[in-house]
Each structure stands twice: as structure tokens, then as C-alpha cells.
């Protein structure tokens, strides 16, 4: 969305115009649903998170200082709600296992000829939300490291690290159980 269009939209939202709410829902609704679905893997939970996100956006629009884009702000709220939702789940989330970092840079450079999509899909769904969140924002949403950093409130270095670890974890899993053909 163009900057000036977004400014107009924010103005409408701050004035409480129904038209503004409708534009936000139409513009970001589907994208946000998809992103939350990828992180949560649960349609019902995803709907709850998206609903709460928009309600918070509309309610707190007066506190939005416009330092970041509206899109980034909406995503920040959504990602935080996704995290809350994941925390509420009965199973414990695996913590960031920073100590067992394995750099697979050597295997990164195209050692795979063929990737088993089915296995990769399974591994992606199983991946810890800590990494999945970053992978989804980077690959699916096409956001930059800087934007992801703004959304998650973490340093760019941390995001890069998470992205790299997430990819490596998937590759490791694929090597163990996937149908990979090494050159």
C-alpha cells in the first residue's frame, strides 16, 4: 500500500469511519489469516487470533504513532497473539536451543538434487514456532529482516540467526528422514 494511501486510511480509522475498517479487513484479512494459519496450524485458533488482532487494531488506533507502517503494526499485534495462543496450548513449547547450534553452511550450497516436498511439509509443520514464525514472515510474507525485526521486537542479528537455524533444522530433518539424493 502506498504511503499516502495508508496515511489516508489511518486518518479514517482514527476518525472511526466504518469505511476505513472495511478497507483494513479487505486488505489485510486474508493475508493475516494465512500467516497465522501457518504459524498455528489450527483454523479455529487462527480465526480467534485474527479477530482479536483487528479488534485491538481498531480500538488502539489512536495510540499508533505511525513510526512503522500500519501493516507492520498489525503484524506485530498478530504475532504477539499467536505467541500467546501457542503458550496456552497444553504441550510445552520447545525453548530456543541456542547451545546446540550446528552450522550447516557447507550443506547449504546445493548438495541436494531433489527435495521430498511431502517430508519438507511435514517437517515444516512440526518445526518449533520460534523458527517457524520467522520462516513464515520471511518466505511467505516476503518481509525483510529489518521488517521482521520491527514486528517481533528482536534485533536483526537474532532474526538472521533464527532464520538460519530454522532452515538448518529443516535440512537436518530432511537428511535424517527425507528422500534426499546427495550429489
Amino acid at each position: 500500500m502506498e504511503r499516502y494511501v495508508e496515511k489516508e486510511l489511518i486518518k479514517k480509522l482514527k476518525m472511526g469511519k466504518e469505511e476505513g475498517y472495511q478497507i483494513v479487513l479487505d486488505t489485510y484479512g486474508d493475508r493475516l489469516m494465512k500467516t497465522c494459519y501457518l504459524i498455528l496450524n489450527d483454523e479455529r485458533e487462527c480465526e480467534d487470533v485474527v479477530q482479536e488482532t483487528f479488534l485491538r487494531v481498531f480500538k488502539n488506533i489512536h495510540s499508533f504513532n505511525e513510526k512503522s507502517s500500519l501493516y507492520t503494526w498489525i503484524y506485530r499485534i498478530a504475532i504477539n497473539l499467536c505467541k500467546d495462543s501457542l503458550r496456552k496450548r497444553t504441550f510445552n513449547l520447545p525453548f530456543d536451543d541456542g547451545l546446540e547450534i550446528k552450522t550447516l553452511e557447507s550443506v547449504e550450497d546445493g548438495i541436494f538434487d531433489r527435495i521430498d516436498r511431502k517430508v519438507l511439509r511435514q517437517e515444516l509443520l512440526k518445526l518449533s514456532p520460534i523458527y517457524k514464525e520467522v520462516l513464515v514472515l520471511f518466505y511467505f510474507e516476503g518481509l525483510s529482516i529489518k521488517e521482521i525485526s520491527e514486528i517481533s521486537g528482536e534485533k536483526e542479528g537474532t532474526i538472521k540467526s533464527k532464520l538460519s537455524r530454522g532452515r538448518n533444522k529443516l535440512k537436518e530433518s530432511l537428511l535424517k528422514g527425507g528422500d534426499f539424493v546427495e550429489r
Binding site: G16, D30, Q51, L55, F58, K59, F112, Y139, F140, L170
Partner: protein, 109 residues
Amino acid sequence: MKDKFDLELKFIMDEETKNVFMPDELKNRIMEDTKGKILKEKISVFLNRYIEIPLPAILGGLAAVMIINLMSLVKLNKDINYSDGKVIKVGYSEIIVRNVKDVDLHEKD
């Protein structure tokens, strides 16, 4: 630069969400909730709003109220028409002699 692995990830994510959309029902629910909350908020803001009244205006108002109240305390008996008769001063007292005579109810007959 994205490699084959990255492109595969993107493809899987797109595939996984190709049928995921925000239902209209959900949009309507959000709109209704928002409208209700905004109305409540507007009422709350109206009731909790700050108003500034200049001090001279407050003092003037208070003075006016005090004067009105004091006037009611020193209200004179309007039934007595002082111009009607003579005033005889006896010491510190005044006796008003009027030509008009009041007749008691039992004396009317």
C-alpha cells in the same frame, strides 16, 4: 538470493494456505464488535472528558450565588406599605400607622 530449498519452502507455504481465507462471517463479527465498542468508548470519553473553566468565571459565579442567597435572607415584608401611613419613632423602634384596616375573619359578620 533464494535457492531451491527456499523456493520449495515458499511453494509449500503457498500450497498449505491456498484455501485459507478470512470468512465474511468473521469480518461481519469484527465490524459489529468494533461498532459497539466504539460507541461505548465515545460515550465513556464524553462522560470522562476534561473541561477547563477560567478562575474569574468560577469566582464570579460563586459570588452571584452568594448574593442571591443573602438577598433571600434579608427580604423585606412587601405587605407593609410604608408610604401608606405615618411612622412614629419611639426610641429605637418604629410604629407605622396606616389608614387601611385589616379585618379578621371572625369580625367580618
